[in-house]
Assembly symmetry: C2
Homo-oligomer: 494 residues x 2
């Protein structure tokens, strides 16, 4: 795989001088088109062998283009805010918005590579990590990002030469550390693992571009031209909206039975029992939130449900049991313009709680496969792939010791009508009912279908959906509290 | 000052039961009006004596109102990302946007109070810290925030009683720590310093409200009513724009001499000298950026100047000398909607660099006293107070070991015309010239006046302006590089 990157590629001074001015101007021009059109973000990864010129390459790109619209991220040691979140959090928060270029040096590949070379991870684990990376990059591309991955290669001899020459020069001696020599000794191990890595993560939408790092002029021109080509190709393509597919046919089972219909909405809880149970489970939840083991965990609670199903009331029964310093309720409304310039899940990544905290979502990332699907706010392809992306997102939280609890609050169409009418009558509840609610109601069946699909595709072992019959508010609230307690207890091994 | 908070205030159960429902409903109602109108943010501080019920109060407020639109911040130990920024950074990033409520427990008062009680700061230092806090709060209010500061008080006997009773109950025993008893022993010292603190920071726009903490019902009702009153007063006031004052009279000296006119714009640098000097100062800057002492410092460079004065070119001469992993260039354009929902300086606080980094601003927080002033985008009062707020902002950076370097690049009106015409002729530079540039040019004199005022009011000893004659680009670029090097050298004690 690295053979053509050990041929000793070189670019003479004459060619360099001849090609450089036009390349720089064209790159600057493309960057400007990108900035003005804001059509997509550009994510550039610079990875490769130590001393192959990664830093210099990043500097050259910043020099050739307008550094005001490039952000370079050299993410090394984790900050403690990063340490408490899933590993990819640091990269999500550094993603460039549409129109901008983000250069990453020290990428999401570094960790898995080093772990494997140093024997801290088995190959099976590495493959798993690489598969997750591949999914992440596919998501970036699907969301419109242009992803360019450069791997700077050096042969073993060339690496040694480079280290020696850096050491000889007093101005660069500081750059060579013991780690560098140690890595040099592990050259073959690095090479082997890198090959596996590159193979596993070269995809049609985000292929690796392997560049021989020996000759700087060759390296810079190759990378510059690849970048220019990719930019121009995307910028010059006509901006056609992908074909809007018709509302997809129902995926319901042939006998017409849907999971929501199996819910017994008539379940009730007597007032007296409610008071007892409320005290019991709120007390339990409070104790769990102060459990010593909880300091190393966090909880994400998702509330989805029919309009007027009582999400707000259920949330308040949870927060009443907690210390306000420990939770955050996130109402999900229209995205801000900063959020709109990023991949769909970005705005949810920003809200991931630290250890020892609760984040409670009043509506959530499931909006894409519910309202956005039904109302046609996004394409068929977008919401179809969202199921997988959401599962990946939740899996990352769970691996980071977050308990993910998801509730669908279900009421009948008749009960909803009753509540809508009530709300319109009671002054201080009037704000809770809008024209949109009435419009959604007209599409009851479409929503029900979308909900059933959502449950089928995203109720996973690690983050299952709990369907809550909510015609009776008391029953629903206790069901929510009880489930939440059970899930946390289970996670704490209580 | 605490006398009326030691009277043993109490609210009976009957009054409580009678008043509570209406209060809660009215609070919820006010919160909703706030959310829908998005007129202002609400900042609530809950401070006071240990065990006076701060946590419970925060919980009650979250229970009474809609927790989806409240964010509670209990900021204790600094994260390492916070540690590298000025102390107020953590509070800036936690400020609620318009329409929302932010509750702070563990506030910007905690640090100064504790330091003084434990004898780690002298009274003069405390007063200085309090003065800074007062200025910060005034800024919040001027920017439209409703700031409510509650101080929960307990007499010494009451505090002891509370500690004992918490210790006796196995369910609350964990809440009493050694520190609590230590603070109890220091009660008188705490009281003295608190008094000083409350006196110094009670202002007409953000007065302290002292509340006896002994009886929970009294405490909750008092705070709830104060909050409701303040909310209603602001919400019910007609939304009148403050009177637009006419463009203010010139503040130029009576002899008509302005500082910009004293600049010798004819200064030039020969091409050969330029090449030498460029190499020299870029080399120097590079060495400085890798100086061991630099790891504990950071640099903020501000570029302002006439349109077409060459800001971009100067910035690139700096970035060329640096490692791209170490700097970020921040182009200042229109604020995003998240930024618009915050105080003016919020969007600049978010960009404050970590230690060992450069942040280079292409235009900056001075926009308020330049374009916003001249074009009437903000009120007279807004830009007048901005001078002081900006000085405070820069002072905080400097105290945090940031080197703040500010350049005004000055060209003559004739030179600008020449450059505008050039830009319109050269294809790939055409984007650099817009109708707005031509319009700004028509207001040359107004801008010049604003610039002179800005320099007069914000060129401080710790963050001076450097005026750069920029008719000759070479001269300007070297002047910028040289000044930057000198300022960093000085800071490093080289």
């Amino acid at each position: 795989m690295f053979e053509s990157a050990e041929l000793g590629h070189k670019i003479g001074k004459t060619v360099w001088k001849k090609e450089l001015p036009a390349l720089r101007e064209a790159l600057l021009d493309a960057q400007l088109d990108l900035l003005q059109s804001r059509r997509f973000p550009v994510v550039i990864l610079i990875a490769g062998v130590d001393c192959a010129g990664k830093g210099e390459t990043v500097n050259i790109l910043n020099e050739w283009m307008d550094p005001r619209h490039i952000e370079t991220h050299a993410l090394r040691v984790l900050t403690d805010e990063e340490e408490e979140r899933p590993p990819m959090w640091r990269y999500w928060r550094a993603l460039p918005p549409r129109g901008k270029i983000g250069i990453f040096i020290g990428t999401w590949y570094s960790g898995p590579l080093l772990e494997n070379v140093y024997g801290r991870s088995k190959n099976a684990e590495l493959d798993q990590q690489l598969e997750r990376i591949a999914r992440f990059e596919r998501m970036l591309c699907d969301e419109g990002a242009l992803v360019l991955k450069f791997w700077l290669h050096l042969s073993r001899d060339e690496q040694k030469k480079r280290l020696k020459s850096l050491e000889k020069d007093p101005r660069t001696r500081w750059r060579v550390t013991d780690t560098d020599w140690q890595h040099y000794k592990l050259y073959h191990a690095f090479r082997k693992v890198s090959e596996r890595m590159l193979r596993a993560t070269s995809s049609p939408e985000a292929p690796w571009i392997i560049v021989e790092g020996t000759d700087p002029r060759y390296r810079y021109l190759t990378i510059g031209k690849a970048l220019l080509g990719a930019l121009r190709q995307r910028l010059d393509a006509p901006e056609t909206a992908p074909p809007r597919e018709p509302f997809p046919p129902a995926t319901t089972a042939i006998d017409g039975l849907r999971i929501l219909q199996t819910l017994d909405l008539s379940r009730r809880l007597k007032k007296a029992d409610y008071a007892d149970e409320l005290e019991r489970y709120q007390g339990k939840l409070n104790l769990l939130s102060r459990h010593p083991g909880f300091r190393k965990r966090s909880v994400v609670v998702v509330f989805e449900g029919n309009d007027a199903a009582g999400k707000g009331g259920s949330i308040r029964r949870i927060t009443q049991a907690l210390d306000a310093r420990q939770y955050r309720v996130v109402p999900v409304a229209a995205p801000t313009d900063e959020e709109r310039a990023q991949p769909y899940l970005w705005r949810f990544w920003r809200t991931i709680p630290r250890k020892g905290r609760f984040a409670i979502f009043d509506r959530s990332w499931y909006g894409r496969v519910l309202v956005e699907r039904v109302e046609g706010f996004c394409d068929h392809g977008d919401w179809m792939r969202a199921y997988g992306e959401i599962n990946d997102f939740e899996e990352q939280m769970v691996r980071n010791d977050t308990v993910v609890v998801k509730f669908w609050l279900s009421i009948s169409k008749e009960e909803q009508l009753r509540r809508f009418n009530d709300r319109e009558k009671i002054g201080f509840k009037r704000f809770k009912i809008t024209d949109e609610d009435w419009r959604n109601r007209d599409r009851w069946d479409d929503y029900e279908l979308a909900v059933c699909d959502m449950i089928d595709r995203t109720s996973t072992e690690i983050a299952p959906w709990t369907l809550v019959p909510a015609n009776d508010k008391n029953f629903a609230r206790i069901k929510v509290l009880k489930t939440l307690c059970e899930r946390i207890e289970e996670a704490l091994g209580e």
